[in-house]
Amino acid sequence: MWAFLIGGAICVVGQLMFDVLKLTPAHTMASLVVIGAVLDGIGLYDPLVDFAGAGATVPITSFGNALVHGALTSLREDGWVGVITGIFKLTSAGISAAIIFSFLASVVVRPKG
């Protein structure tokens, strides 16, 4: 299925950034998020989501996509303020989930090394 192929391909791009460009994970992820944001800005990411489903929504690039989506939706609805008010609207699920689950994990579990 396309989810597998597109998702795998995006990961390969990330792996090349690790191995060829010798970027750290933080640099790589930040770059991929920005790429996702830019692709959504020029309208290319949504068709990719329609086409590949989770192959486009699961990689971190979709985070950039969601941030831009939120910004642009609010821009349309609320005017120029929307650029700031809307950014985290769609990503709330991901960020909140990560914070909450990580916090709960740290209370319950200790690192194993």
Binding site: V34, I87, A97, A98, P111
Partner: protein, 201 residues
Amino acid sequence: MDKRLPKRVDSALKGRRINEQALTNNEIDFGAREMTSLSTSSAGGRPYKKLSMSPKEYQTFAKEREPTRSILTNCIRAFVVGGAICLFGEFIQQLYVHLAGMKREAASNPTVATLIFISVVLTSLGVYDKIAQWAGAGTAVPVTGFANSMASAALEHRAEGLVLGVGANMFKLAGSVIVYGTVAAFFVGIGHLIFGTGGNH
């Protein structure tokens, strides 16, 4: 070589050709970074000469002797694991659509949350990093990597307390992703504002 020489040393070195190997302890007192050793005098044996490579030569020398990363193997592993995770995400999304009656777009949020939950559990069990050493970007690029970065930082800093440890350090690794994503989204939004596309795309 530190280019920002303090003024008093600057005048002392004026007119002298700066050759990294010619610099000695006596001339530099601002903490030169690339000093090579002085030639050592022998105490009875033949003197072995100091390392005669310049930093640039040594860096090339060291690079040639670096074990090559098996890029192809790493990419194949990343492809397989990353694809598998996305496929699994697709599967979960379908579950939400069919069992919870959500629409496809609406189901992507709980899907991401579910994947995050699974990553946090795997991180807590201590197996995520072992999988990631094998899979590389295959586990790091999907949102699982984001969750792992937050969970691992939270777990690690629990020893420093819940507020200053967990609370303050949770975003140690994930922070750059959020910051750059937000800044990028802001500029994209501004771009749309300026070019009057008003969010339609």
